[in-house]
Symmetry: C2
Subunit: 97 residues, 2 copies
Amino acid sequence: MSNFGDLIRIAREEKGLFLRQVAAELEIDQAIISKFERNERKPTKEQVLKFAKFYKLDKEVLLVEWLSDKVVNDLQDESLADKVLKAAEQKIKFKRK
Amino acid sequence: MSNFGDLIRIAREEKGLFLRQVAAELEIDQAIISKFERNERKPTKEQVLKFAKFYKLDKEVLLVEWLSDKVVNDLQDESLADKVLKAAEQKIKFKRK
DNA sequence: ACTATATTTGACCAGTTTTGTCAAAACACA
DNA sequence: TGTGTTTTGACAAAACTGGTCAAATATAGT
């Protein structure tokens, strides 16, 4: 199962870049990027988009990864997760009308 | 489509109670309850449980309503909602193993 | 319109959480 | 050991939450 951190770590490694270099390019402290890569901290939406652009990753893929991490985080109480997701789906459907 | 606010407003009206009374009973400021009923503010989990108990509503129903409101709130970008919910589902499934 | 009561609104505060900065510690490896 | 990279943790700044209160607004009865 993928997650935001893995995606950006792999992308960085594939390009053979150091945290320092990415940090300079994106103007984000390298300590923070390190934490993003280990899923220790959640980036802002802006930052997600910066990573997508810089690593040339699909913006949507990265956003979905990031948002679903956030949703999972809301559902601490696993036991209700299924019901909650179903309910959320219904609400979204309803909103679209 | 229901939501947390509607549920507790209807419950209160069915019991013929004033905000003031509920506020006193639950020790929550009536201005806040008013905002909960209009979905202007999100209660804490504790508060959700207080309402369930006081109005004798099913705890789980109320929690699902509350959590799914939270999830929908995360998904500002409706266009990705379906993908995000599917991804979240996968992550939950994965976590369970 | 006036009164009385109920609800909503908005300004403000305090406490918590999140985000960013930095330097030291830990790690990798020649 | 020496050099360069990554991780960790302490700290501060900023943003967000949750609560309090009183004034404004709405509602109903007279």
